[in-house]
């Protein structure tokens, strides 16, 4: 490849020879002598003469850009070399066509590093990007570099200036909202058709507006799971806001983003955009995982729009954010953080996998496979990363299965729908897996009708389900006590479509969203309906994170009129109604889990009375302050008005004579009748006629 300088001379030699041939052709036998005289000194340099040719001269650097150096290649002997080569070639041809490779050897074994040359420079660059860090096996992770990089690094300047220190972007205390003195919760409201977004604090008398911005988001907002960030959507991507002043903390560019999902630990954000941007070529991928703190893109994935990926979130996070998984046809891919690589570098093949869910308390997931010919349906609980099957259960004659984990991971409820004997209606069963117990025993609860809704109590061991068909819907309550499922009670003839447990447990709301608009508040401690109410056309319901209040919302996105949110106490007492112009969305700001120990909580409960005394005094003070303000305001308004009225009266008195004149002297200012003006007329009206026969006596 590399030609020596001597080539020039050869070329020169060719020229005269050719000329001689021409002469022979021309018939010119004589050979003119064109050689330079003996002492002729060239005064024109080669570079001037042959500039164009010199340019084409291959340089040492040419061809190097397509070469990569791979380190940490296993050291093997002759007999394994062939296999090694096959493996390496397979891995690296993914990035482009390999032109040649070179495995330097020393004493019969490979040295541990190799050179690969691609046809194209781009392939080399891709290889560096894609294969660097690739784990061939437990002890060999490739390090890939461009050959040309070595030159670059050799020539690093001696004068090294330390990089400029970037000022610390102090985002402040992201959880400042927990320090609110009165323990009031924040909630975000989008109203005026999406133009205005406001953050309110649920203070005692009226919610106080903390922050309001126009066009803060283009579609809707989401809070992060522990409440630190508010995410807003824009055409170009997502912005995260937080801290006391709601400053912009981070920005993620993902054009056309439509859906997002936070990891439970608030470390990562997954964004999804269905937009296919042809200008960016294959680089653009629909799903991206970002690291929130640094703002870096960690990994992107394609989304199978028509096939498996129709429900968001496509990636499901484990409870501690250590793993995230996604299912594709016949395959469950579990990735681990922070490397973003597949656990054990491969996906788990589960033929026919339908749905899977992580446990909210452990690193295990449950999935089910539908019935297939002779093979019955199956529910499996799998531990990650060991991939050990904690429990498997086969189910027969199944038409549909739904999985529902208990919020503390203690139980898994599997709702199984089967056709009844006549193959007409669906009947449902609940199979409750007791995760905490050895061997994971399963209990079955049979129901005669189809289940419409199901919900676990967030703290505690109760669950509620709605079954039947409208209007004869019943709500059944169960509690799992000491390993046994106890039926607490059934409430008949409810018009509910959804169940919402209070985050604190014990209280539950049954509501008919977008249908009957009935709200019923139930205390499951004694199975009574505490209260019921109606909010016409209610479309959403949100419990506040403490479980004290419930907000029922009529959203403008569902109904164009009567948009308002109503605040109810957890006992079902309607406290306030707040109509808002084109109210779209209301979301409470979530709170991270309490860090109080169970003992501490018990102590607080015991001393409840002393605490409540303090709070009640505080509340009374607040109330009187509020009413004092109102009274003061009213008094000043009244004063103002009375002055105005005095003025009016003066004018009125002044114009009295004119008025009298207009009405021909009749004084008409007073409406009261003057007694003298009244004419009394007595009218007799026959009411009744009665005939009495007197005794006809003489």
């Amino acid at each position: 490849m590399v030609t020596s300088m001597d080539g020039e001379q050869d070329w020169e030699d060719v020229k005269p020879r050719k000329k001689r041939q021409d002469d022979i052709i021309n018939g010119n036998e004589e050979e003119p002598d064109f050689s330079d005289p003996e002492d002729f000194e060239e005064d024109v340099s080669d570079s001037e003469f042959l500039a164009d040719v010199l340019e084409k001269k291959p340089k040492e650097a040419d061809g190097i850009d397509a070469v990569i150096v791979v380190d940490n290649v296993p050291v093997v002997g002759e007999e394994r070399l062939g296999k090694l080569k096959t493996v390496i070639t397979k891995i690296f041809s993914k990035f482009g066509k390999i032109h040649s490779d070179y495995y330097p050897e020393f004493e019969g074994k490979t040295k541990g590093y190799i050179f690969i040359e691609y046809e194209q420079d781009k392939s080399a660059k891709d290889a560096v990007k894609g294969a660097d860090g690739y784990k061939l096996d437990k002890s060999h992770a490739f390090r890939v570099n461009l050959f040309s990089d070595f030159e670059k690094y050799k020539n690093v300047t001696e004068n090294w200036t330390p990089p400029e220190k970037q000022p610390l972007k102090d985002v402040g205390n992201l959880y400042y909202f927990l320090e609110d003195e009165d323990c009031n919760n924040q909630f975000s409201v989008i109203y005026e058709g999406g133009v205005k977004t406001g953050i309110f604090l649920n203070t005692a008398a009226e919610p106080s507006l903390l922050e309001q911005r126009e066009r803060w988001t283009e579609t809707y907002t989401r809070w992060s799971p522990k409440g630190a960030y508010l995410a807003t959507f824009h055409a170009k991507g997502i912005a995260l806001w937080g801290g006391e002043k709601f400053r912009q903390i981070q920005r993620f560019t993902h054009p056309g983003v439509q859906l997002i999902d936070f990891s439970p630990c608030e470390k990562y954000l997954v964004t999804f955009s269905p937009m296919q941007d042809p200008s960016r070529g294959d680089d653009f991928q629909a799903i991206t995982v970002w690291e929130i703190f640094t703002g870096l893109k960690k990994r992107s994935f394609h989304a199978d729009m028509s096939g498996e990926d129709r429900q968001w979130p496509i990636f499901k996070w484990s409870y501690d954010g250590q793993y995230f998984a996604r299912k594709a046809k016949g395959v469950l891919s579990v990735y681990e953080t922070p490397s973003m690589g597949l656990v054990d570098k491969k996906s788990i093949a589960i033929d026919g996998i339908s749905e899977f869910f992580w446990s909210p308390a452990d690193n295990m997931l449950a999935f089910w496979i539908p019935e297939n010919d002779q093979i019955p349906a199956r529910v499996t609980i799998l531990a990650i990363p060991s991939k050990k099957e904690v429990r498997v259960k086969n189910l027969f004659n199944v038409s549909d299965i739904r999985l529902n984990w208990h919020k503390q991971g203690k139980f898994l409820c599997v709702k199984v729908d089967r056709y009844n004997k006549a193959k007409k209606a669906n009947i449902s069963n609940f199979e409750i897996f007791h995760i905490m117990e050895k061997q994971v025993p399963v209990d079955i609860v049979e129901l005669k009708e189809q289940v419409i809704a199901f919900a676990w109590e967030p703290t505690g061991n109760k669950f509620c389900c709605l079954h039947g068909e409208a209007p004869r819907i019943s709500a059944m309550f169960f509690e799992i006590k000491g390993g046994k499922i106890e039926h607490l009670g059934t409430m008949e003839k409810k018009q509910a479509t959804h169940i919402f447990w209070s985050p604190a447990g014990q209280f539950v709301l049954l509501v008919g969203l977008n249908s009957s608009s009935q709200l019923e508040f139930i205390d499951t401690a004694d199975m009574t309906v505490m209260n019921s109410g109606e909010h016409h056309m209610v479309s959403d319901v949100e419990w506040d994170p403490t479980g004290r209040y419930l907000v029922s919302i009529v959203s403008w996105w569902e109904h164009k009129i009567d948009n308002a949110y109503w605040v109810w106490s957890f006992q079902g007492r309607l406290m306030r109604k707040y109509p808002m112009e084109q109210l779209c969305q209301l979301l409470w700001r979530p709170k991270p889990k309490s860090i109080l120990s169970a003992d501490h909580i018990k102590k607080i409960r015991k001393n409840h009375k002393s605490f409540s005394k303090i709070f009640e005094a505080k509340d009374r003070l607040l109330q009187s302050r509020v009413s004092k303000e109102i009274i003061d305001k009213r008094r000043s308004l009244m004063e103002e008005f009375t002055n105005y009225r005095k003025h009016c009266n003066e004018v009125y008195q002044h114009t009295t004579p004119y008025r009298r004149e207009l009405r021909n002297g009749v004084m008409t200012d007073e409406v009261d009748y003057q007694a003298e003006d009244l004419d009394e007329v007595t009218v007799e009206i026959l009411i009744e006629e009665e005939e009495t026969i007197l005794n006809d006596k003489e």
Binding site: H536, R634, L637, Y644, C648, R659, L662, R663, V671
Partner: protein, 326 residues
């Protein structure tokens, strides 16, 4: 509150008015027949037959001898109150939207709509003059400059006319000089459906489709108070004896089916005049309330609705005892 329900109209009520002494209630509706009732027991005295289209407005003079009605059949009629005979008819080029007697009862005004290329007109006639005489004053409102008037009122002492317009403007017209626009204000953002004066004619309340009612000082048109609701306000009235105002309204007819219809959810709302705070609601109508009026003695009020019913309510003791903390 025991309401009297007066069922005399087949179509939606457009306006109701008490006479000065309060013993008669005049009601007009879209069914072309104005009615008059005894307020004491709800008995109907009679009807005034002659109109052939929706009657938009009614007014009665101070001694209850004459009645004036304006209708969509392009006429404004003056009737003898007792006999029901038509005294005079004024023909117009477009429907008559509002009509009023002056304080002295000798002059009347009416405003017309913008229809079929005819611009709205404001006409003032002296009724003592012969029937076919020219108007004492008439002027046209160019809708390119000012939107069409929806309602009008005589100012105190026949000196000026106040009109409320389609876009929320209110205008003062000087009658002494001859129809000169004194000044106009635009406090409302949508059309003004009704305007009523207080009993001493110093204050004026307007009801607008922008879901508020506003209280003005009549001579100067200074905005004093605003009463906010969540429904377009069709009518508002000021109590003659207490610091209360009543507002009535509702959705457009086409939205009615989507809002809550249970048990007549269309209510009249009572606000404190000075504090602008709502303190009471009276339910009962099955459709939006189109017109409200207080009885001149302040002890009762009436409301006429889109459902064609007129409800007469007597206030009970709790209404009079109710006091705002102050």
């Amino acid at each position: 509150m025991r309401p009297l329900m007066l069922q005399g109209h087949e179509r939606a009520i457009t306006q109701i008015r008490y006479n000065r002494e309060g013993d008669l209630l005049f009601t007009v509706a879209k069914d072309a027949t104005p009615n008059v009732w005894y307020t004491i027991n709800g008995e109907r005295l009679g009807t005034y037959d002659g109109h052939r289209g929706t009657v938009w407005s009614v007014d009665v003079n101070w001694d209850s001898t004459k009645v004036l009605t304006g209708a969509a059949d392009l006429s404004c009629k003056l009737w003898d109150c007792e006999t029901g005979k038509v005294i005079n008819t004024w023909d117009t080029k477009s429907s008559v939207r509002s009509s009023n007697f002056s304080y002295c009862g000798n002059m009347i005004n009416f405003t017309t709509d913008r229809q079929m290329k005819h611009e709205p007109k404001i006409c003032i006639y002296d009724i003592r003059e012969p029937s076919d005489s020219e108007p004492a004053l008439s002027f046209v409102i160019d809708t390119k400059e000012m939107s069409k008037p929806m309602c009008s009122l005589w100012g105190a002492l026949n000196e000026y006319l106040i009109t409320g317009h389609d876009d929320g403007t209110m205008a003062h017209w000087d009658l002494k000089v001859g129809g000169e626009l004194l000044h106009s204000v635009r406090e409302h953002t949508a059309l003004i459906k009704d305007m009523q004066l207080s009993s001493d004619q110093m204050m004026l309340i307007t009801a607008s489709k922008d879901k508020t009612a506003k209280l003005f000082d009549a001579p100067s048109l200074n905005l004093m108070k605003t009463y906010k609701t969540d429904r377009p306000v069709n009518s508002a009235a000021i109590s003659p004896i207490r610091d209360h105002v009543v507002l009535g309204g509702g959705q457009e007819a086409m939205d009615v089916t989507t809002s809550n219809l249970k048990e007549g959810k269309f209510d009249a709302r009572f606000f404190h005049l000075v504090f602008e705070e709502e303190f009471g609601r009276v339910k009962g109508h099955f459709g939006p309330i189109n017109s409200l009026a207080f009885h001149p003695n302040g002890n009762s009020y009436s409301s006429g609705g889109e459902d064609g019913f007129v409800r007469v309510h007597q206030f009970d003791e709790s209404y009079f005892d109710f006091q705002f903390e102050c």
